[in-house]
């Protein structure tokens, strides 16, 4: 199979490329800057139809990972990368005769702020979700799934909180904050949260590629199926990095209100760096979100191979060797 992977420079992107190559698929990648992954590379902006068209030509399948993540920034930036970008990739794929399309989405596209407890994959709701990222990804998922048609099987995979050694997003930020003494627990830190070890997420995306005809038109949440209290997760990441667990706690309401204020300031000043707290983040940390994985595992014929305990050991080994 000839596969185009967009946004391959991310942690999970690299893993997916590695898995596909390992089993003999022909892989090429598309992103803004050279990745050094060692496969055929197409460079360009994801919302540039010409560049994307060139990249997708000749591919049988697409794994669309490219996205703008983050909790701050102007809506237009998210819209351009995630909404316009996804439409661009979907259109190009259809034009190029791609038969399998795996759109990488996020559970946040259906998260309207309440606790998610053993939740299934609810429909994406761009008008009700929180934050620019979730809203743009919700639009993107709807666009991708709407393109599902007899010629091209489209499926949306929503991995929840991917982490692993070398992860600069979740692990990197937590460790950086812990080092700076700025990591605090929101509320009691007891809300159960699902995460996904990176290898498992990559396995699931490859499984989705293989099972695309059977799961066409569906959205599936992917996690390790091992939710943990958020404080335990933070502590274990910080401990793996050889640091002291956080000792501050911020009451949930204070965090949420504070987050709102901080967001406004950052947005007004258009600061490029991460704010210390946003209301979205406070909500993510202060409410439970874990998912019913039965349907996903059946549909993908996939099981997470790496347990959380194993994942934390690997993370510790990674920090110790660094």
């Amino acid at each position: 199979m000839k596969v185009l992977v967009t946004g391959a420079t991310s942690l999970v992107g690299r893993s997916v490329v590695g898995l596909l190559r390992g089993r003999g698929d022909e892989v090429k990648v598309f992103q803004r800057r050279p990745s050094g992954i060692g496969v055929a590379e197409h460079l360009g902006d994801i919302s540039d139809p010409m560049a994307v068209g060139d990249a997708v030509a000749g591919a049988d399948a697409v794994v669309h990972l490219a996205a703008r993540a983050g909790v701050t920034g102007q809506w237009e930036l998210f819209e351009q990368a995630n909404v316009v970008g996804t439409r661009c990739v979907v259109d190009a794929a259809r034009a190029a005769g791609v038969t399998r399309f795996v759109h990488v989405s996020s559970p946040s596209v259906a998260h309207t702020g309440r606790s998610l407890i053993g939740a299934g994959p609810d429909a994406a709701e761009p008008d009700r979700v929180r934050g620019h990222y979730a809203r743009s990804k919700a639009h993107a998922e709807l666009i991708a799934l709407a393109a599902d048609a007899p010629g091209m099987a489209v499926t949306a995979i929503r991995p929840h909180l991917i982490w692993g050694p070398g992860d600069t997003q979740l692990v990197g930020r937590i460790v950086a904050r812990a080092k700076a003494g700025r990591l605090a627990i929101v509320g009691t830190g007891t809300s159960l949260i699902d995460t996904t070890y990176v290898d498992n997420a990559a396995d699931a995306l490859v499984a989705a590629l293989d099972r695309a005809p059977q799961i066409a038109g569906r959205a599936l949440v992917v996690t390790n199926g091992q939710p943990r209290p958020v404080r335990e997760l933070l502590n274990r990441i910080v401990l793996a990095a050889g640091l002291e667990p956080p000792r501050f706690t911020v009451p949930y309401r204070v965090a949420r209100t504070g987050g709102l204020a901080v967001e406004k300031i950052w947005e007004r000043q258009d600061r490029p760096d991460d704010p210390p707290l946003t209301s979205f983040l406070a909500e993510q940390l202060g409410t439970a979100h874990w998912f019913d994985q039965r349907e996903t595992r059946l549909a993908l014929d996939w099981q997470p191979a790496v347990s959380l305990a194993e994942g934390f050991q690997r993370l510790r080994a990674h920090f110790e060797s660094a």
């Binding site: 606790s115 407890i117 053993g118 509320g187 009691t188 830190g189 007891t190 809300s191 159960l192 199926g225 091992q226 939710p227 943990r228 209290p229 404080r231 335990e232 502590n235 274990r236 401990l239 949930y252 202060g286 409410t287 439970a288 874990w290 019913d292 994985q293 039965r294 595992r297 347990s307 305990a309």
Partner: protein, 856 residues
């Protein structure tokens, strides 16, 4: 006949919630006078039915009441639900239809509909007498009755007439029932919880204008409250006619919170229909079919009716009456019962007990207590209780034992449900009975002056009863098939359930205990556990009730136990684990003489709650010559299995606690769990299969009191008792218990039972107690372990990573999502030892969804 509004029958408007327009049809009948009448009828029009349900509504409803019965009709069952004339969407005839006429009307419509084959009538409210009147005219067709909150007889002193009498003054009647929809709306307000608006509107649909409502008033007016009322004789004829229908099986579904048809009417109907099964919903009201899933109950019962015709009757084993050992030793001056009621030991010999049993039985009979009457006993274990129990049994009265462990509220509910005819109590219980209005004519164990008797409404004292019975002949003996007693389950989930036993079943229980523990007439028992104390005299052994607070088993001290043992050189000791725990804790307070007395104990039994091995071990140290046993069982059947301390040690750890092999005469089988944790599998003895523990034994309960639905669900397959415990049999045939069915955690990879994990985690040196609960939706739950660590924390918290790691290392069968630490775990009040996992799970749900870290 007055002339009222007239209108032909019509079809209900479309869109009424739950009502399929296809069920509706219009039917024309003709009266004897030649006048024709048009009806609206719901009819699923099944041809050649195996049974027909003929459903009759009351006032002010219509056939809409029976929509669930039509919707859920099993294959082959025809359901006909009529709108009575002048009611619902049937014709407004312009004439008043009295009871007699309505019975005739119903017969006309069943003729017209060609109702063939067996018929089960189903009726609510004043539809009851009409349906029964129909049954009297169709005797050969009637296969069963279902009655819901109705009556065939109006006791003059009841509350209902007062309510109805008030409404019945002519102008109020017109105002409330016809001119305004007050009565209609008021009746609909009796539903609990409140009816949804679309359903209320559907009930009101045929009664939107005053000229459509005239029959609502006429129906109320047709209730015969006076001797001269035109329907008085018709109603009496129906009530009297029931004597001819006494062999017809009946199902009485009753909402206990009905201000009109109260429990009084339930008792009346039950006494007239001896083959009735009863389910009384303590939290439902008049609109029972709206409040509860009556349709499911009706069809379960119909199903059983059809099946039971094929079931062969079992031949019971002949056993001695419960009082036979007392009779046999009626010349024996050896102590039968010893208690420490007044602090000092008091004793009653077998001779005295034999005499007293007869006297009390005869005296109670003379006082008016009849065979089958219920007598609540609120007397602590001891001499008085023995006399009352055996007196009642000898007479054939049914003893109702609501123990104080249920709490005042629990006792009130239990007694309201059991509805004893008499209540024998110590003065404190008598005072409570008066204050809390417990049912039953009161009999005091203690003498009291006449003025006080009057004040407390005491009918007699036990001494009065004794002297009444002095020179009277013995009453005839009850049969083995007669009911002997009602006990109560602990009711950890919902109100306590009454569990009914017949004489034959209690005899079998006595014999099972004798066999299990090799009890002979020379044994002497100290029973610090109520239920067991009752059985001593029936086994013909001396029984001692030690000095302790009845409501608090943990108040038994080692010296008190030793003094009881000493008093009769007892060699058997039965105590709850809570009692043993305190005995162990107070062992140092014994004198050397007292400690010496315990050397003679050959058998130590403990039950009533899960018995930790270390308690048995520690108690065993005080009684070194005793073999420690713990029987497994429940209010519904005891003993089921039995294990010795050495058996427990041999079994080691596993998925649950080992309770030993089933005792002789008891069949134990497992109903395997499906993936969602429901015990849906067929019974099996295969080792290792996890499921609901099902039991069959001669000493099993007969049923649940007035809880037919519960009983039916707990009796699948027929003849077995579903224990509600989950467990498995091992390859040696031993039974292991993993917890309650309701406490199964249904994870995405299958059901997980809590007890095995709790024991495993409990073996960590710094864990005092552990509870395993599930959070999240059924089928995809996460396992949470809640531990009480040592030292105990001051408030609940997440376990630190170290403890969490060690807990997870002890659990290999499932992923543990969270480990929480708490200062203590909530336990049930009655036994003070059963972990309240339901409450813990609710708490964990909250905490793990990010809510405040509250106390449990």
């Amino acid at each position: 006949m007055t002339s009222g509004p007239t209108a032909p029958a019509e079809l209900p408007p479309p869109g009424l919630v739950g009502l399929d327009p296809q069920w509706s049809r219009l039917v024309t009948t003709s009266e004897s006078s030649g006048v024709s009448r048009t009806w609206h009828v719901l009819d699923n029009q099944i041809e050649d039915p195996t049974a027909t349900l003929l459903c009759v509504h009351g006032n002010p409803t219509w056939s809409y009441l029976w929509r669930d019965l039509v919707a859920q009709a099993p294959p082959g069952v025809r359901v006909i639900a009529v709108d009575q004339l002048n009611m619902g969407f049937s014709e407004r005839t312009g004439t008043i239809r009295r009871l007699e006429q309505r019975i005739e009307d119903l017969s006309a419509v069943t003729d017209e509909l060609g109702v063939q084959g067996p018929v089960i009538t189903v009726a609510h409210d004043w539809g009851g007498p009409i349906s029964l009147g129909w049954a009297l005219r169709h005797r050969s067709q009637v296969a069963g009755f279902v009655l819901m909150n109705t009556a065939v007889h109006q006791p003059a002193e009841s509350l209902a007439p007062r309510l109805i009498r008030m409404v019945r003054s002519r102008w109020i009647l017109r105002l409330a029932c016809v001119a305004t929809p007050i009565f209609l709306r008021g009746a609909l307000m009796l539903a609990r919880p409140r009816l949804a608006r679309p359903i209320r509107l559907a009930y009101q649909a045929p009664y939107r204008r005053a000229d459509r409502r005239s029959a609502i008033g006429e129906f109320v007016e047709d209730i015969p409250l006076s001797e001269t009322h035109p329907s008085k004789r018709s109603l009496e004829a129906v009530a009297a006619g029931l004597a001819q229908l006494a062999d017809v099986p009946a199902l009485l579904l009753w909402g206990a919170s009905d201000p009109i048809f109260s429990d009084r009417y339930l008792s009346d109907l039950a006494s007239r229909l001896p083959r009735s099964e009863i389910h009384r919903f303590s939290d439902a009201g008049h609109m029972i079919s709206e409040d509860k899933d009556a349709a499911a109950a009706v069809y379960a019962w119909v199903d059983q009716l059809q099946e039971s015709e094929q079931r062969p009757a079992s031949t019971p084993v002949e056993r001695d009456p419960l009082w036979s050992e007392i009779d046999r030793r009626s010349d024996d001056d050896a102590p039968a019962v010893v208690d420490f009621e007044g602090g000092a030991p008091a004793s009653m010999s077998f001779r005295e007990l034999a005499l007293d049993t007869k006297r009390v039985a005869a005296g109670l009979a003379d006082l008016g207590v009849a065979k089958g009457d219920r007598v609540a006993l609120m007397v602590p274990p001891g001499i008085d209780l023995a006399v009352c129990v055996y007196g009642c049994w000898r007479l054939g009265a049914v003893v109702v034992v609501a123990d104080a462990g249920l709490g005042a509220r629990g006792m009130s509910r239990a007694l309201a449900s059991a509805k004893p005819d008499y209540l024998i109590g110590v003065p404190k219980a008598i005072a409570a009975a008066r204050a809390l209005r417990w049912p039953g004519a009161r009999i005091s164990t203690m003498e009291m002056p006449a003025s006080r008797k009057r004040l407390l409404g005491v009918l007699a004292t036990i001494e009065d009863v004794r002297s009444r019975g002095e020179n009277l002949p013995e009453p005839p003996e009850p049969s083995d098939f007669d009911f002997a007693g009602i006990g109560f389950t602990s009711g950890a989930t919902g109100p306590a359930k009454g569990v009914a036993y017949r004489h034959s079943q209690l005899q079998a229980q006595r014999d099972a205990l004798i066999d299990l523990y090799g009890i002979t007439g020379t044994d002497r028992l100290v029973a610090a556990f109520g239920p067991f104390a009752l059985f001593g005299p029936s086994m013909g052994i001396t029984s001692v009730v030690p000095e302790m607070e009845v409501t608090s088993p943990g108040s038994l001290t080692a010296p008190a136990l030793a003094r009881s043992v000493q008093a009769v050189s007892a060699n058997l000791v039965f105590a709850s684990p809570a009692a043993l725990r305190n005995v162990v804790a107070t062992a140092a307070n014994m004198t050397s003489n007292e400690a010496e007395a315990l050397q003679g104990v050959r058998l130590l039994m403990s039950a009533g709650a899960p018995v930790p091995a270390e308690i048995l071990r520690a108690a065993g140290m005080l009684m070194p010559n005793a073999e420690a046993h713990t029987p497994y069982g429940m209010t519904e059947v005891l003993p089921v299995a039995d294990i010795t301390l050495s058996g427990i040690e041999e079994a080691g750890s596993g998925d649950g606690v080992c309770v030993g092999p089933p005792v002789p005469g008891v069949d134990v089988a497992i109903s395997p769990l499906d993936f969602d944790g429901r015990a849906t599998g067929s019974l099996t003895n295969q080792s290792g299969v996890v499921g609901e523990v099902c039991i069959r034994a001669a000493h099993m309960r007969d049923g649940y009191d007035k809880l037919w639905i519960t009983e039916d669900a707990a009796s699948q397959p027929v003849g077995w008792h579903r224990s509600g415990d989950v467990g498995h049999l091992d390859e040696l045939g031993r039974l292991w218990i993993g917890g309650r069915m309701g406490h199964i955690v249904t994870t995405a990879s299958g059901p997980v039972t809590p007890v095995g994990i709790e024991h495993s985690v409990g073996e960590l040196a710094d864990v005092v107690h552990a509870a395993v609960v599930g959070v999240g939706p059924a089928g995809t739950q996460q396992v949470v372990v809640v531990v009480v660590p040592r030292p105990r924390p001051r408030r609940p918290d997440l376990a630190d990573e170290d403890l969490a790691d060690r807990v997870r290392a002890r659990v290999d069968i499932t992923d543990v999502a969270a480990v929480l630490t708490v200062p203590s775990l909530p336990v049930d009040k009655r036994h003070n030892s059963k972990i309240d996992r339901t409450r813990i799970s609710r708490w964990a749900e909250g905490v793990l969804s990010g809510r405040r870290m509250s106390k449990i």
